[in-house]
């Protein structure tokens, strides 16, 4: 039993390290080779866990080889458009100027049900309002609406809005994020002052606090445990 526990922990660490090394893209929508690698890694890693008679290297070496191949293929596809096209294909236009491209639908074996589902996900109910819908290489559909159907932006309405930028987390679960405090250009004294204004005596009492580029603050206080 101890062997299984130790093997499981080792394989788990290897898988997490491999997924981490492969990069953030692989954790989001997967391309074909990335999906193959992710499935293979998880399947191969399980073999030494099911049978302790199988050497653990039989699970770890495939992970290392797949990880290396995936990194090299990603690099080659980045450098060469031809390789990228061969491995991942090309995006294709499914809807153009409100009209469904039936030839592309057949070529991609993309059914009307799938199209409807993807459009609903994009909050599109009227196909005639779609200027262009592109089926990406990872199977997702991206939609560009006609100008008249697009939501009105502040710029289009001639309204000037303040830029708020990305809010920086200053306190997370009662812990001060010093790096973010420095990034925001604020001091500990400023932070104490802001907490005092809201009758908060300790940093540890704050669940989440953010500040954005305009200086707007969001604070969420920890709930008192019953």
């Amino acid at each position: 039993m101890a062997i299984i526990i130790l093997r499981t922990v080792t394989v788990f660490v290897c898988i997490v390290a491999a997924m981490r090394l492969m990069g953030k893209r692989q954790l989001g929508e997967l391309e074909l080779s990335e999906l193959a690698v992710a499935v293979l890694i998880s399947d191969m890693a399980a073999h030494p866990l099911q049978d302790i008679g199988i050497p653990m290297l039989n699970g770890i070496i495939p992970i290392i080889v797949l990880l290396s191949c995936e990194i090299l293929i990603s690099f080659l596809s980045l450098k060469s458009e031809k390789i990228r096209t061969v491995l991942f294909g090309k995006p294709c236009v499914i809807i153009k100027n409100g009209s469904i491209c039936q030839k592309e639908m057949r070529k991609n074996r993309f059914s009307l049900d799938e199209l409807s589902e993807q459009l609903r996900r994009k909050d599109v109910t009227d196909i005639s309002s779609v200027r262009c819908a592109i089926l990406e290489t990872d199977g997702t559909l991206n939609v560009i609406l006609n100008a008249s159907a697009q939501p009105l932006s502040a710029g289009a309405a001639g309204i000037t809005r303040q830029e708020h930028g990305i809010p920086l987390g200053l306190i997370c679960d009662g812990r001060l994020q010093k790096a973010n405090l420095a990034k925001a250009g604020k001091s500990a004294a400023w932070l104490s002052g802001e907490l005092d204004k809201r009758n908060i005596s300790r940093i540890a009492d704050v669940y989440y606090m953010t500040v954005d580029e305009c200086g707007d603050i969001y604070i969420s206080v920890k709930e008192k445990e019953k």
């Binding site: 008679g53 199988i54 050497p55 290297l57 290392i64 990880l67 290396s68 990194i71 090299l72 690099f75």
Partner: protein, 126 residues
């Protein structure tokens, strides 16, 4: 670029290590096989003490390589070789010529299998 170079280096290192592994296994299996053959020859001539000594040397070579073998070879295969050694030594101590020949054949098949399993060939890959 560093990650890609590291990945390429890792693949090359693994290929090199597998080549070394094959060389080591080849040398080990050839050594063990020659000692088993020598033990059989002694047993055929009735020199049971020499046969036991040769078989013992082969078994010693296997025992010292067992740790390494367990890392790369299925434990069932390694156990098969160990069991076959017990059979051979038992036949030698029992001074049973036909049993010695039979168990030596089985042992040599197991031993050669250790190398054949690791050797890349069309049959093993497909």
């Amino acid at each position: 670029m560093k990650k890609e170079l590291f990945a390429a280096a890792l693949l090359i290192a693994l290929s090199t290590l597998s080549a070394f592994n094959l060389r080591y296994l080849r040398a080990l299996t050839l050594d063990m096989t020659s000692k088993i053959d020598a033990a059989c020859a002694y047993a055929a001539d009735g020199l049971w003490d020499s046969a036991a000594a040769e078989a013992g040397k082969a078994e010693e070579a296997w025992s010292s390589a067992l740790g390494y073998a367990s890392v790369f070879i299925r434990h069932a295969e390694a156990d098969g070789v160990s069991d076959a050694f017990c059979e051979l030594l038992g036949a030698i101590y029992g001074k049973d010529r036909p049993a010695v020949l039979r168990s030596a054949m089985i042992l040599k098949k197991h031993v050669s299998g250790l190398y054949d399993m690791e050797r890349p060939s069309l049959g093993s890959i497909l």
